[in-house]
């Protein structure tokens, strides 16, 4: 079963709902090792994405992601805005103007998103950033696709790996973003961006079933 523009919009709406629901939790994580705004920032952005999609869903999944990208870039701010914006923008570009996405496209889109985040933020796995969730997610998605899984299963594999990746940031010393100012004091806390990445992928997976 493929994924058309309406489904893509539905997936983003689910992402927005998840962000709204976990807003306080994300901000709390950011309070511990950052500046207590990650949930607020993302929610401001995804609420705007919702509004943009309510105003009209574009023709293709790629175009839907592009709307999300430009909206996030202009509304989220902070570190996460340009990073998530770049992720969606690169994925949108990768998807081109296909009217339906298959599992291969989803895996390739995720890979493009990861490449964009790394190009901008220069973080590696182990720096305790969203990359720690996104990179294993991409790898899991690619494996699932190689195993012949469908879109929902690919996204579920990504979400599972992202969750594990986010959890793996807890014992790490942050080396990028605000949390890096804490040095060893960042140990013992999950990275907010990695956590939001895992939550978003989980909601995408569920909405794509």
């Amino acid at each position: 079963m493929g994924c058309n523009a309406e489904r893509a919009a539905g997936v983003l709406r689910a992402g927005a709902a998840t962000v709204a629901e976990h807003k306080t939790e994300l901000t709390e994580l950011d309070r511990a090792i950052g500046d207590a705004d990650h949930g607020e920032n993302l929610d401001r952005g995804f609420a705007a994405v919702l509004a943009a999609l309510d105003a009209g869903v574009p023709e293709t999944p790629g175009a839907v992601l592009k709307v999300a990208a430009t909206t996030l870039i202009s509304k989220v701010g902070g570190a996460a805005g340009p990073l998530y914006g770049t992720a969606f923008l690169r994925a949108a570009t990768k998807l081109g103007d296909a009217s339906e996405l298959d599992a291969a496209a989803v895996a390739a889109g995720l890979r493009a998103a990861l490449d964009g985040v790394v190009a901008r933020g220069k973080a590696e796995v182990g720096d305790a950033t969203m990359v720690d969730a996104l990179e294993p997610a991409v790898e899991a998605a690619e494996r699932a696709h190689a195993d012949g899984e469908n879109v929902a299963a690919v996204l579920t594999a990504a979400a599972d790996a992202a969750k594990e990746g986010a959890d793996s940031t807890v014992p790490l010393t942050a080396r990028k973003g605000r949390a890096s100012y804490l040095g060893e004091r960042s140990v013992g806390h999950a990275d907010p961006g990695a956590t939001s990445t895992a939550l978003l992928l989980r909601s995408f997976a569920e909405a794509s079933r």
Binding site: D35, A36, D37, I73, G77, G78, G81, G177, Y181
Partner: protein, 333 residues
Amino acid sequence: MKKIINDPAAVVAESLRGLEAAHADLVRVTYDPNHVVRADAPVSGKVAVISGGGSGHEPLHTGFVGAGMLDAAVPGPVFTSPTPDAVQAAVAATTGHAGALLVVKNYTGDVLNFETAAELAAAEGLDVRSVVIDDDVAVADSTFTAGRRGVGGTVPLEKIVGAAAARGDGLDAVEALARRVVGQVRSIGVALSPPTVPHAGEPSFDLGEDEIEFGIGIHGEPGRERIAAEPADALVERMITAVIDDLPFAEGDDVLLLTNSMGGTPPMETYLAHGIAERLLADRGIRVTRRLVGPYVTSLEMQGISLTLLRMDDELTELWDAPVHTPSLRWGA
């Protein structure tokens, strides 16, 4: 949390309304995306100097818009970088063929968002450069961190660069000057109490009654270490030593000293700390030739101070002394 606000989500725009009402002769405020430009912008033929960042650090940057300093300031949400579209709007309102310099404090969010805005402006044929200030000695500059933060040194940087642009320097010269200032300015901050971000509603960190956060960032990010509360003499010595040892500043240097209140520390204590810093610098043979004392880079209502030293020379002194007329810094006008 007790604050004089209405809706936490509207606090930046509502505060800008007050700024606009108070200083209509100096600044023009546009909302959504929020940006503040000097009342007479664009100033034809002049390099535009533009800065911005999360709100909650006032007067930085909005209070420094006006003749002789910033052409525009782009206030983001509280403690959150503005988005590229807001920066772009400020560029569009102020920048002509002479180009613009973006003064960016080194935070991942600011750097990424201003970088994106500069790319967009370049795509429209404008010559827009960025300089990143990272004067906070609290954070070791290594591959293990996002690098030093931009803090109090931003004030002399914006004043001096603004004066250079005002006297007609071209973009190359203004940019080079900015990098020179960044190279010789250093700061350190301490917090006695945390700030509370309006939409968060809770203090950004907990600090025991006998603790001081040494090397605090301007968003309440932690610094080098948490130390036991100590008398001002010892605390200021600890601070000034950290700053001096970093560049390092040396006997015979002329410096500008900014003793900055982080918001909740009142003038009595800020001046008290300033007096100690002046004495310690004199003891070390470092000559304070210019100074600024007061709340210039705040962190909401956080109690604390920061000390900034900028190594001065004749050119920087002349540019510092040049007339400035903004809501929060004014002389010679």
